[in-house]
């Protein structure tokens, strides 16, 4: 039993460990936009005493906020999913140019295999691109340790640091020793969460335009500085404790990093391993010496051949993506099979599969929840057979049959501008853009301003459920409170949209199917920008749950199946057939139904009522 208070050991996910590390490192300000698999970092960090944590409106804002805090002399953190760094790239790049006053760490949570993402980009390339060091943990203990180290590195070299996680690090749990870190601790009854002393007074914000005003005349002088800086970090990488050789059999040498290290160790227990905790810049001498010490050198890394290419550029022969997949994530079996295929391991697979054939199974796609306020609008869009340029959020599930009402979806904030572009290209149909409230605050507003400024008849539906639903009901500027539970002004959408200059704006309760249809039919006759706001809080919010009352199907149901077209998981086909039509009658699962009455509105026979 590991129950002694010193050291305290806890099972933490990688995300929780980063939060803990940030707290132990004395981070004062953290800003983020939610995104799987990074979201839990800020949710966890926000609970520590004496810290400030916020949901920013988007990742670029989050990074700018963190930069501001780091300029002001406080350690600062910004976290995001991998594609968030695309949004934040501009800020990330200038932060590299200016450097900081206090530690600045940007966390990117990459998603190999795209468990919940639109692509599987490898963000190590961003570190190289920006001349910024990149650290990559392999488990939760390292996630915490490297977070602390990242802040020290940041201050030592006057640079932002990129901490790169992947889904299997973020969402895996392993043991972590808790420490109190750099906080000066007061005696506290509870050993686990010591209360830090009040923070030191804020130093004066720097007045140093040569470093912090990136006009060309200053920037041109900074560029050589950051090139020299990354060379200095490379020198440090040669001896930094996170890059280590685990000596073993000389026949095979493996360079590896991140979660792939775990698979490498599991599949090649006796090989020599160079484990890189810092994957940019790379320690050339260390790699050279390691390569010279083994007969055959391979690189095991998920996604891009990032290390492999760099090693080849050093003129060192090695193999990587010739053996291991470029696409998707690894697991021990993937690594073992690839190694066997390449002759690195003897013939047979270590374990045989049973080869059981379970036959056809019904798919279980994610669907809009029962009572989801997005459902009614999608039912209407499908009915009207209009072209819909979608966006990213729960409402992307409007794609799935039987709603089948999303025709494009690329990245957050894209839908409105894609619709505008299609309209300007002369697309013969009316384009409807569908966007969630959080996505509208994220990157939708500039796109709508563009529609107004350059005038196109795009119809925008803002699905306002008052939360950032997809990632787990995080607060946003329309929620009325903040990440740390403080009350906040609610930014109302209708006045905002009107202020942008949209003349046709209407807010409709999201469960009013008829009203939505009527409004859309009117809008389809217009030749001007129009906005429909469908408003109803997410059915999963505690306040909404209190109002759940299940419906039931009455005897006069004749099995017409219209209610199935709304794709609600609470509506089932019953075993009872209608006498005349011979079709199964509908049945409502009372344990799932919330009583939103969208089905009742589409029922032509008034056969769905409250119990």
């Amino acid at each position: 039993m590991i129950e002694s208070p010193n050291p305290v050991v806890r099972m933490l996910s990688g995300d929780e460990a980063v939060a803990r590390g940030a707290w132990e490192a004395g981070v004062a300000v953290a800003s983020a936009y939610p995104g799987t698999p990074s979201t839990e970092i800020l949710e966890e960090f926000a609970r520590f005493p004496n810290v400030y944590a916020e949901w920013a409106t988007n990742e670029k804002v989050a990074v700018d906020v963190a930069i501001g805090a780091a300029y002001a002399g406080k350690r600062a953190l910004a976290t995001m999913k991998h594609v968030g760094l695309n949004v934040a790239a501009d800020a990330f790049m200038y932060a590299s140019m200016t450097g900081i006053e206090a530690g600045l760490v940007i966390v990117t949570a990459d998603d190999p295999a795209m468990h919940s993402s639109q692509n599987e980009q490898d963000n190590r390339t961003f570190a190289k691109f920006a001349r910024v060091p990149c650290l990559e943990p392999s488990d939760s203990q390292e996630a915490k340790d490297l977070t602390v180290a990242a802040f020290e590195l940041s201050e030592q070299f006057d640079t932002p640091v990129l901490l790169r996680l992947t889904t299997r690090v973020c969402h895996s749990t392993s043991a972590v020793r808790l420490e109190t870190g750099s906080w000066k601790l007061e005696e506290s009854a509870d050993d686990e969460s010591p209360i830090p002393n009040p923070q030191s007074p804020i130093p004066k914000f720097p007045r140093n335009p040569a470093k912090y005003v990136m006009v060309p005349g200053n920037a041109i002088k900074r560029h050589p500085v950051i090139e020299a800086r990354i060379r200095a970090v490379a020198e440090y990488a040669e001896t930094c404790p996170f890059n280590r050789v685990e000596p073993g059999d000389r026949a095979l040498g493996i360079i590896t990093c991140g979660i792939a290290y775990q698979y490498a160790r599991e599949v090649f227990p006796t090989a020599s391993v160079l484990k890189l905790g810092m994957t940019w810049p790379l320690p050339e001498r260390l790699i050279r010496d390691f390569a010279a010490s083994v007969d055959r050198l391979i690189v095991i890394e998920e996604l891009d051949p990032f290390i492999e290419e760099a090693v080849r550029l050093m003129g060192i022969p090695c193999e990587g993506k010739r053996i291991f997949p470029l696409v998707g994530e690894f697991d021990p079996r993937v690594v073992r099979e690839s190694a066997i295929n390449a002759g690195l391991l003897p013939g047979d697979l270590h374990v045989a599969l049973t080869g059981v054939d379970v036959g056809q199974l019904p798919a279980r796609p994610p669907v809009l929840c029962p009572g989801c306020p997005h459902r009614g609008a999608f039912y209407v869009l499908n009915k009207l057979k209009v072209l819909v340029n979608g966006d990213i959020g729960c409402y992307t599930l409007g794609l799935i049959a039987p709603l089948s009402a999303i025709h494009t979806c690329g990245c957050m904030g894209a839908g409105i501008a894609v619709a505008h572009g299609a309209a300007k290209a002369g697309s013969p149909e009316h384009h409807v853009a569908v966007i969630g409230d959080s996505t509208f605050f994220h990157t939708g507003i500039p796109a709508l301003a563009n529609v107004v400024y350059n005038q196109s008849p795009v119809i925008t539906i803002i699905m306002d459920n008052r939360v950032t639903g997809m990632t787990g009901q995080q607060e946003n500027p329309g929620s009325g409170h903040t990440l740390q539970g403080r009350p906040a002004p609610r930014i109302e959408l209708e006045p905002l949209v009107r202020a942008l200059g949209v003349k046709h704006v209407k807010t409709v309760p999201a469960y009013h199917v008829e009203e939505i249809e009527k409004t859309l039919r009117e809008y389809l006759k217009l030749d001007e920008p129009a906005v429909l706001i469908t408003e109803e809080e997410c059915a999963l919010l505690p306040s909404a749950r209190k109002r759940w009352v299940p419906l039931e199907v009455l005897d006069n149901c004749n099995g017409c199946t219209l209610c199935f077209r709304i794709g609600c998981p609470a509506i089932l086909k019953s075993d009872e057939l209608d006498e005349k039509t011979g079709r199964p009658k509908a049945l409502i699962d009372a344990s799932l139904c919330t009583g939103c009455e969208v089905c009742a509105q589409v029922c032509p026979r008034d056969a769905i009522r409250f119990r």
Partner: protein
């Protein structure tokens, strides 16, 4: 314990698989093993499939378990039990919850849903070490169907004990971890649920 013990939990969002795997990984730690857990819960809220791996051992590297290397299977739902069956090694221990949660592709889409006979036949092809438990009914009889996950953990604990795979472990290790993870007012309910799960496989329920 020799080497590692690999668990796979499979179910549907909302069934309490996440709590169950959290308990499992902490039981491993409490028993003095290295323990790791990995899960994908991105879309679970929306009724999607949820799977999670837990590993115990002297040294555990990968949090993921490769196909064919699962030693212990905890399946919360009939279709999901079948969906992930190919991951098991021959002769794996399995606790299968006989709950059917039909996805929309079945309820309104008309796809067929597997029946219990097919489930048992397919599982029998892979292992003769499976037990079938009606966790929901047992938990409901105790007053709260949501404790079904702890009923299953109880059944699992008995199965592991019988197998001798983790001799270091006692039922108290499990109960202590569970008690630390549920709200105080539910501790007693969960204790009963755990016991009922053990009974369900110890009394009457034969290894099939």
């Amino acid at each position: 314990m020799t080497n590692t013990l690999n668990f796979l939990l499979a179910g549907v969002g909302g069934q309490g698989t996440i709590l169950a795997s959290d308990v499992l990984v902490n039981v491993g730690l409490a028993a003095g093993y290295q323990a790791k857990q990995a899960e994908v819960h991105g879309m679970s809220q929306r009724g999607g499939s949820v799977t999670s791996f837990v590993r115990w051992g002297k040294t555990v590297y990968s949090p993921l378990v490769g196909a064919g290397e699962v030693d212990v299977y905890l399946a919360f739902e009939v279709a999901e039990a079948l969906r992930n069956l190919g991951q098991l090694r021959r002769g794996a221990l399995a606790v299968v919850n006989m709950q059917a949660i039909k996805p929309v592709t079945v309820t309104s889409g008309g796809q067929p849903y597997p029946d219990d006979d097919r489930l048992r036949a397919k599982i029998a092809e892979v292992t003769d070490q499976a037990v079938y438990v009606d966790g929901e009914r047992i938990a409901a009889a105790l007053g709260n169907a949501r404790a079904a996950n702890v009923v299953l953990l109880g059944a699992l604990s008995a199965l592991i004990e019988r197998s001798g795979l983790a001799p270091e472990l006692t039922p108290d290790d499990w109960l202590r971890v569970i008690a630390g993870r549920v709200p105080a007012k539910y501790v007693e309910l969960n204790r009963q649920a755990f016991g009922a799960g053990r009974e369900a496989v110890g009394e009457g329920q034969q290894l099939s």
